[in-house]
Amino acid sequence: MSDLYFRTDLFGELDRLQRQMSDLFEGFPSSLRSSRMGTFPHINVGTTDSTIEIVAFAPGVDPAKLDISIDKGLLSIAGERSTRQPLPEGTRQYAQERFTGSFRRVIELPQQSDPDKVQARYADGCLLITVGKREASKPRSITVE
């Protein structure tokens, strides 16, 4: 019994340490599936009482080429930003910072998310995905009888 207690406590400690480390660097915890630097598109995730809102900052992407899927609680956003046609003769390229090629980003959805309630739309270069939460997980007030 004391062994078990010790183990959970140790994991709790490691968890806390990891949280502190990531807090030091960014303020928000990172995930194995989303390293922070040099990724495309950048993603913000937020929650409301009834939904999980995901914003992918993917300018200049053809919405028809976006592939969004949910599998076992993992939301996957894949697509391609078309590579530039070769430059004509006599042109000079001074900067090429914008991402080109295919990309895939995976987001771990919280357990209470409902894969049947997903909406996605693309506007002004932002992909907005709304994932509903299960009824049971929505906050509700409990009346005292």
């Binding site: 409301t48 004509p88 914008r98």
Partner: protein
Amino acid sequence: MSDNTGITQHDPNAMTRSEPDEARRRVTLTPAVDIVEDAHAVTVWADLPGVQKDKLDIRVHDGSLTIDAESVVPVTPDLRLSHAEIRAPYFLRRFTVSEDFDTSRIEAALKDGVLKLTIPRRDEAKPRRIEVRLG
């Protein structure tokens, strides 16, 4: 004995604290750009996700070109951010523009969060072949 009878305590730092908050809000992102020049113009593509036309400000002043934009993503007010890779919704980038560009004829087009700026070269600055006459 304490003479603090107020229900809410006045924060003596309230005024000084609001200033760094304001400054932090002004943190801007540098948008990624592609720049290509040909014989007629230089073309700049800039990634500005979530920027609409009315939140985009392009200025030319004293030989410098400034792209200043604010990204607006429609979200509900009760949203709590849990993971953020884009923290500041402001984009800012400056370039110097040399004399041989005609800044009065800059064309700007914004589509799906990508700005395309075309800055034409002045006619006299365009490359031309100089004929050599036999003397």
